[in-house]
Symmetry: C2
Subunit: 330 residues, 2 copies
């Protein structure tokens, strides 16, 4: 295992210490618990948005806490859910008088703990709503049981914008729901990654083998086979995406080409070009293209392609400036 | 070789096509040559800054072309220099009446081609100055023959800021020189990377072996041995950096923790925390910490640590907002 760290069991907390030391003006923790990650720039009267999930996906999840995006994050160990108590402690800190939206990925442990945190909040008369990202088309035929992956970025962006505009809790939820309804993702892995405390990959891919549809924790995909070219990957991915959510000629989408960790930025742009060429042929308009690492699996090689169908309202949300220690857009 | 691409020989140009398709309002190419990479937002009367170098280091080099930073970039093949003609064509496009600063890394091929481009410019009465980044302490005892690596970010930032403030060509050169004089880098690799057209790593590192001081093209370092912990890596690196450029108690520095490609953002923050703890112990003040991928070697695992000693003038330059398709700071 080739990782820069001090000890496998210290991975998450050492990472958090490094983040707080680097960005003390922007983020802080509460309850003497490094894993209760909160904005240091709370804004009175604004709906608070809280996310959470396991470590190992930076900039997901905590990297989106900051101006114009989220207000807090419960941080779990590598690929583990934060506890209900941690989410509740973050909630008490960032709640600013307008209620809280819980916005996170569709994973069993996370759902259980966010739901318990919501019950604890209710006892304190803090109003909460919940919505989960479930954009990974290949993870299930049923949209309700799909996993949440990189497409949650568009939910963060739209909900964060509506909250920054001082929308009500129900309006912020509706913005997240609108982004969810219009976002789909397909991902593929070329290599596994290693959980520090495990010390070896939890699956293997042969030389020249890839896994189409693999999840960001290594959940099995729809096929394993020889590595496709960028053009082939773009075509198969768009066939899947547009098969699940049709986009008509002249409709507009945003595209997110996300690297899973070890894949170079060069390759992401090669893939982005392949995707764009097909969209151009189909007459689907691209409003904005995002390329980079938005949701990773540590040192996994691979990428995901997300599309988000946008109207004028969503374009305005997506264009709003944001600033976190991990992601700045102007 | 596990890469997302269409063909090894198309790697650089497919990448460039993807970039131009994704960011048409920000960058363009001239002379029908994808590798003549120019800002689409030329500003009259401003000193133009041009960089260049091989593909495979994104966001270095072209990723720093944009508002508040650079104006153009000659793009070479993977780990190869751009041609003199390409640099000259970029020069003719972005020159805006105040001359050009060539600011690039200290590599033989690049120096030859930038010098030839400067001669071509001279025949057109375009004034140029040149400066090379040479921040990699472990690459040579003699500062003049050191390689340029991630620390060039601070030269870009300071020169870019001075140019945006409409400084003269000599003032922009002086800003780059000031950043150069105050910046040092130490890097280490945990894995090699693969040049697409070669198809296999050009060196090997055993399981649990790392290379301290290795260059971003795999140039040999000062030692190979078992992987150190983050705390040990931070200590040895800072000993080297501060041995070469002493920083007194209460002096201020910026720190750049740079990932070489495959190393996770989590690990970079673990390393950042280790570096910061040592600096705090020494009483060296950290003005600003940058963590992420600033200069990579495709899918190489590893990191570099740069320090840049800052005074009030440099802090103002480093804090100035910039915006490129790859790097935004507000």
């Amino acid at each position: 295992m080739k990782k820069i760290m001090n000890a496998p069991e210290a991975y998450t907390d050492d990472m958090l210490k490094g983040i707080y030391m680097a960005h003390p003006e922007e983020v802080k923790y509460v309850n003497d618990d490094l894993r209760c990650y909160c904005t240091a720039k709370k804004k009175d009267g604004k709906v608070a948005i809280i996310t959470g999930g396991g470590t190992g996906h930076l900039p997901l999840f905590l990297g989106y806490v900051g101006e114009g995006l989220l207000d807090g994050c419960g941080v779990g160990g590598v690929f583990q859910s934060p506890s209900a108590e941690q989410i509740y402690n973050v909630s008490k800190e960032v709640e600013a008088g307008a209620g809280i939206l819980y916005l996170y990925g569709n994973y069993t442990g996370d759902i259980m703990n966010f739901d318990m945190a919501a019950e604890l909040c209710e006892m304190d008369d803090i109003e909460t709503r919940s919505i989960v990202g479930a954009d990974d088309v290949n993870s299930n035929a049923n949209p309700d049981t799909r996993r949440g992956v990189a497409g949650i970025f568009f939910m963060y962006k739209c909900a964060g914008a509506k909250a920054a505009q001082m929308g009500s809790l129900d309006e912020v939820l509706a913005a997240a729901q609108k982004a969810k309804d219009n976002t789909r993702t397909v991902g593929f892995a070329l290599t596994p990654c290693i959980i520090p405390e495990v010390g070896h990959p939890n699956f293997t891919l042969a030389e020249n083998e890839m896994a189409m549809g693999m999840g960001i924790h290594g959940e099995p995909g729809v096929w394993n086979g020889p590595i496709l070219t960028a053009d082939e990957l773009a075509k198969e991915s768009l066939d899947t995406l547009l098969g699940d959510m049709p986009v008509a000629k002249d409709e507009e989408i945003c595209v997110l080409i996300n690297g899973l960790g070890a894949t170079s930025i060069e390759e992401l742009y090669i893939l982005s070009g392949s995707v764009r060429s097909i969209l151009d042929e189909k007459g689907i308009k691209v409003y904005r293209t995002f390329v980079g690492e938005y949701a990773t699996s540590m040192e996994m090689a691979g990428a995901s392609i997300s599309i988000c169908k946008v109207d004028d309202e969503m374009k305005q949300w997506i264009d709003m400036p944001v600033k976190t220690p991990f992601y700045t857009q102007v």
